[in-house]
């Protein structure tokens, strides 16, 4: 039996063990109705306005990867958590923990990327903090960003709001970010380089909400991939989810690398994609506006919420079979043999 006296790498993986730690330690300690919703961001009512508030910490290694760096992730990640609440992101804070010896030029490149990402997203970085720790006490650079945004009237986005019959939309191709990181880490080179898809999704969500104010759920499938996000929504909403393998968009080089290593794209992280649960009579309208956005060109419907098998995600496979799509337990690992 795994003794629970130590924190293990799996506790940071975003899957079952992470959720258990939150349920067993964080929720009881902090205990309030806002936190217990466990959405991507907290939704608060202050002085008649509805605010979304979110935080995230970035410890990715490698710090620089095809398609961006940790700075891009740090800005886009929190912007996206706010956008997933249906909010228009406004302001971010930035906390830096730097390892002594980290190259100043690397830091400059990361800061420049953060400024560029903030500008693209239309948010302002309004406060921050910098700490330096001795060599070995941190791995190069850790970044925390927190953000606030405004939620408009009539928008009620929540992982608990999915309804049977909802169409499930994805904004583009799966697994680009996770496989870009892996290809960099493993020094794998391809004719068509695999790049991270890190991007701010708030302009896309704003467009989608103009086409349909009553979108039920947004989720950006980061750690744990699409499979984990769908499982979270299924459980929090008490619905079943049915997806179709032949509708999942995956770029050929990404599919190729997944095959090579034995990875399932459904479990690989994305940093510039979103899932949406949309009432079925609005899904075509929403899809149409998505495809007009540069970040939604490959948007498609991948499945639907159903009343049967609540809390479970089931996939119809390419050959017409069926299998359960479970939540990620530990880290996904390449095949040995």
């Amino acid at each position: 039996m795994v003794k629970k006296d130590q924190i293990l790498m799996d506790h940071g993986g975003g899957g079952k063990l992470s959720n258990d730690l939150i349920a067993e330690m964080m929720l009881p300690a902090f205990d309030n109705p806002v936190l217990s919703h466990l959405e991507d961001g907290a939704m608060l009512e202050i002085g008649g306005s509805r605010l979304a508030f979110s935080t995230d910490t970035y410890v990715v290694d490698p710090v620089f990867f095809p398609g961006g760096n940790i700075g891009d992730l740090a800005v886009n990640g929190t912007v996206n958590d706010l956008a997933m609440c249906g909010a228009a992101p406004l302001y971010l804070s930035v906390g830096l923990i730097l390892e002594a010896g980290f190259a100043r030029s690397d830091l400059q490149e990361i800061i420049t990327a953060m400024a560029r990402a903030a500008k693209l997203a239309g948010v302002k970085i309004v406060t921050g903090d910098t700490k330096v720790v001795p060599k070995g006490a941190a791995d190069k650079i850790f970044i925390n960003t927190s953000g606030i945004g405004l939620i408009q009237n009539g928008v009620r986005i929540s992982a608990a709001n999915a309804r049977p019959g909802d169409h499930i939309l994805i904004s583009g191709t799966l697994a680009d970010h996770g496989m870009a990181i892996l290809s960099k880490r493993e020094g794998l080179a391809f004719d068509t380089p695999i790049k991270s898809d890190t991007a701010p999704l708030n302009h896309l969500t704003a467009r989608m909400l103009t086409a349909c104010r009553d979108i039920h759920c947004f989720r950006d499938p980061t750690r744990g991939g699409v499979a984990t996000s769908l499982n979270e929504i299924a459980r929090m909403s008490g619905v079943g989810v049915r997806i179709f393998e032949d509708r999942l968009p995956v770029r050929p080089p990404v599919a190729g690398l997944c095959e090579l290593l034995g990875f399932d794209p459904l479990y690989v992280a994305n940093e510039g994609k979103l899932l949406a649960f949309v009432p079925p009579d609005h899904s075509e309208a929403v899809l149409s506006v998505m495809r007009q956005d540069p970040l939604g060109a490959d948007a498609c419907i991948i499945g639907e919420a159903v009343a049967s098998h609540p809390d479970r995600v089931v996939m119809e496979t390419v050959i017409g079979g069926e299998r359960i799509v479970d939540m990620l337990t530990g880290e996904q690992l390449p095949r040995i043999c």
């Binding site: 790498m9 799996d10 050959i319 079979g321 069926e322 299998r323 095949r335 043999c337």
Partner: protein, 360 residues
């Protein structure tokens, strides 16, 4: 041809499924002995489409699952030595040993690093000449050539701080053990595609001649597997056993001569203990005299506790196809992917983990 999409063609797959169902064959038990087959069969949804009379049984094909408790304990002991960097495939991190696990040992401060291949381990040895780097060698014949190649590279480059703890095993002797046990009740074998790419179909001839049981070497895409299952059903029904290669795009009768040559250069066969099965003669590998300096077991003094198998764990019966995961009293109760008791639940290719993940 891209060799992926074509072998996932839904029309081809449907046609094969109909032909299998239309045969109306009596109940039959077909065993696969490859972790990648276990996972592919589930992931593709084939299990949900085959007639209930056809049982696809998972055998001892998961290299992590058949790694003996003592081998896990030895790896944990090696990781605890001063100045040692233990390098391992990720799947082994969470396997519970008698007292601890590699993951817990890492959390307690041991230098244990996940690598994707032996050459990564060799690179670590090059970068840390003052440390002793041990690679935990687990895997069947698919993996062994890469280990042999790294040992040859280390010899050429004069790298003296690189060692291998050799827990590798080979498949054909295990097939013999399975057939010699009257309780396993197998009617045909789906033979492993990757292993066969290395050893060739010829390697199965002695086994086939001895038992005259239908055997088909299969690839991993849905159409590959269904094609092989159809051929096995036909052979079983007609009582006309053959040894067939249904994966000719990757497997030749002579295998991969270059890979076989370097395996034989570096290693020689020995007996090995397979978890839950016991000693299988000639199923393991040890370093030949010339390369024995790379053998971690000979080089390091380690204290390995007496292996204690967890009570109630049915991994052994599950690995030999005598029980299904649901027959194990610990399955989904005490033993889950988050809290595994045995390696069949830890490894991503383990039978219990696959059943849990894909069928609930």
């Amino acid at each position: 041809m891209k060799y992926v999409e074509e072998y996932r063609d839904p029309h081809l797959a449907c046609d094969l499924i109909h032909r299998i169902a239309a045969m109306g064959a009596p109940p039959m038990r077909v065993m696969e002995v490859c972790g990648t087959h276990t996972v592919s069969i589930f992931r593709s949804g084939i299990r949900s489409l085959l007639p209930s009379t056809l049982s696809l049984i998972s055998g001892p094909g998961c290299p992590v699952c058949v790694t003996d408790q003592r081998e896990i304990d030895a790896a944990i002991a090696l990781a605890g030595l001063d100045n040692v960097i233990l390098t391992t495939f990720g799947d082994l991190m969470r396997v519970p040993g008698t007292i601890s696990s590699l993951q817990k040992k890492q959390a307690a401060g041991s230098d244990i690093r996940i690598v994707y291949s032996t050459s990564d381990a060799l690179d670590i040895a090059r970068r840390h000449p003052d440390r002793q780097v041990v690679f935990l060698g687990v895997g069947f014949e698919t993996t062994i050539p890469t280990v042999a190649a790294s040992v040859l590279t280390a010899t050429e480059a004069g790298i003296s701080n690189f060692f291998v703890y050799c827990a590798h095993k080979c498949m054909p002797p295990a097939l013999d053990t399975l057939m010699a046990d009257p309780e396993t009740g197998i009617d045909g074998f789906l033979l492993p595609g990757h292993v066969s790419a290395i050893i060739g179909t010829e390697a199965y001839l002695p086994f086939f001649e001895k038992y005259r049981i239908p055997c088909v070497v299969a690839g991993f895409e849905p159409v590959d597997i269904l094609q092989a299952v159809l051929r096995l059903s036909e052979m079983i029904q007609a009582e006309a056993p053959q040894l067939e290669n249904a994966y000719p795009r990757a497997v030749r009768s002579e295998g991969n001569p270059a890979a076989l040559k370097i395996i034989r250069e570096v290693f020689e066969p020995c007996d090995a203990i397979w978890r839950g099965i016991g000693r299988i003669p000639g199923s393991g590998f040890r370093f030949r005299e010339k390369y024995r300096r790379y053998d971690a077991e000979g080089h390091f003094q380690i204290n390995v506790p007496a292996a204690v198998m967890p009570r109630g764990c049915a991994c052994g019966d599950i690995l030999t196809g005598k029980k299904l995961p649901s027959d194990c009293p610990l399955y989904k109760t005490r033993c889950t992917p988050v809290n595994p008791v045995g390696p069949c639940m830890v490894s991503s290719e383990g039978t219990c983990a696959a059943y849990f993940k894909y069928s609930g």
